[in-house]
């Protein structure tokens, strides 16, 4: 537990002082235990999401950074993207099996910005309605199949 809080404190400081472009931490969202954060994100200019605002929720377990954070889009605007379900769940391999403690909140944000930026057509995943109906509340409890790395 101690190592998790120490690490999160550092991450918080780092994202406050050098936030990636278009990303900012929502200060009010961070409680004293640091186990839940909300990050505000803007669609990058020159992409399909230019001018849009999104919110990402991060939840950390006591095993962080060995256990990946649980990351979902929340709020009124969930990006329409082939890897983002309408309930905010994101299909991205670094959030489950390819997670490594060398990654961080910052690198997850960068991966998500880049996933959005490389999108060429705004649409939901083909199995969106079935998934949203049957899935667990926690996206880490989905056995994701990662089939492509194009978008």
């Amino acid at each position: 537990m101690a190592s998790m809080q120490k690490r999160l404190q550092r991450e918080l400081k780092s994202i406050q002082t050098e936030p990636p472009p278009g990303v900012s931490i929502n200060q009010n969202s961070v409680g004293s235990s640091l186990t839940q954060w909300i990050v505000d994100m803007e669609g990058a200019s020159g992409t399909l999401y230019e001018g849009e605002k999104f919110q990402l929720q991060f939840k950390f377990s006591s095993k962080y950074p060995f256990d990946s954070p649980e990351v979902t889009f929340i709020g009124p605007n969930i990006p329409i993207h082939p890897h983002v379900y309408s309930n905010g769940h994101i299909c991205l391999s670094i959030l489950t099996e390819d997670w490594s403690p060398a990654l961080s909140v910052q690198s997850v944000c960068l991966s998500i910005v880049s996933m959005l930026s490389s999108c060429t057509e705004k649409k939901r995943p083909p199995d969106n309605s079935l998934y949203v109906k049957t899935c667990s509340k926690n996206p880490k409890k989905t056995k994701w199949w990662y089939h492509d790395e194009k978008v």
């Binding site: 190592s3 199995d127 989905t142």
Partner: protein, 277 residues
Amino acid sequence: MEGPSNAESSSKDPVKDGWNPDINQDEAIIAQQRQIEKDIADSIKLVGDKMDLSFLLSEYPDEDDVYKNKIKSLLKKYHLLRRTRPDGNCFFRGFTFAYFEYLITDAQELDRFIDVSNKIKDDLIALGFPSFTIEDIHENFMNALNSLKTKEVSNEEQLLNLFNEQGTSDYLVVFMRLLTSGYLQKNQEFYSSFLDSGLTMKNFCSHEVEPLNKESDHIHIIALTSAIGVGVCINYLDRAQGDQVTVHYFPDNCDPKIYLLYRPGHYDILYLRKDDV
């Protein structure tokens, strides 16, 4: 195309396949996996106590000549074994434990390894790893190494405590994984030829080397031992023909400081007879 695997169920006939739409299949599968991991964690320590190697004989049936003969040949050279938890990290954790055990006895080698570890941190950052997380991982690794230097950890029992504290132990494993990844990426011109075609070294490392719990192959072992200049001797106990275990040294022709036993899918630590007092 991609998506959650339970999407597959939609095309099946629920009655014929016994598929119950009220049960979340993914959650059930993952819960079962977690339970298996928990059962293993409850019964096998991350790094266990030394035990008499001859117990291996009781793990195979009497009529299994291949294994029995190989174990007998192994017993001529080694007499003790230390088990590691089969969690996908057994090579890295076993190797690191055995090496730290050696470092307790060799102050000069400890100083050399402290220098190597500091240099590796700079190399990793130069390779483009995020400095912020590398520093966190390196700092935790150095705390453990320094506890050897200050003699705060100076015997087997203290080392076992260090390696059985999950957080500390995982930081050690992660640093070893990252330095392996760094070495492979730095020398990718040579090592890429061992990968399946189309796979880049960067991809291989982020899928198969850096995440915890991914099992190790020869390429991990060659890279780790070359990166830190520490030799390992691995004894392969498998069903291959012959009555001797297959022995490999990494790097080739090294003078090994670490001896491991490999049984398909798992590594444990071995102790030479000559070390016995």
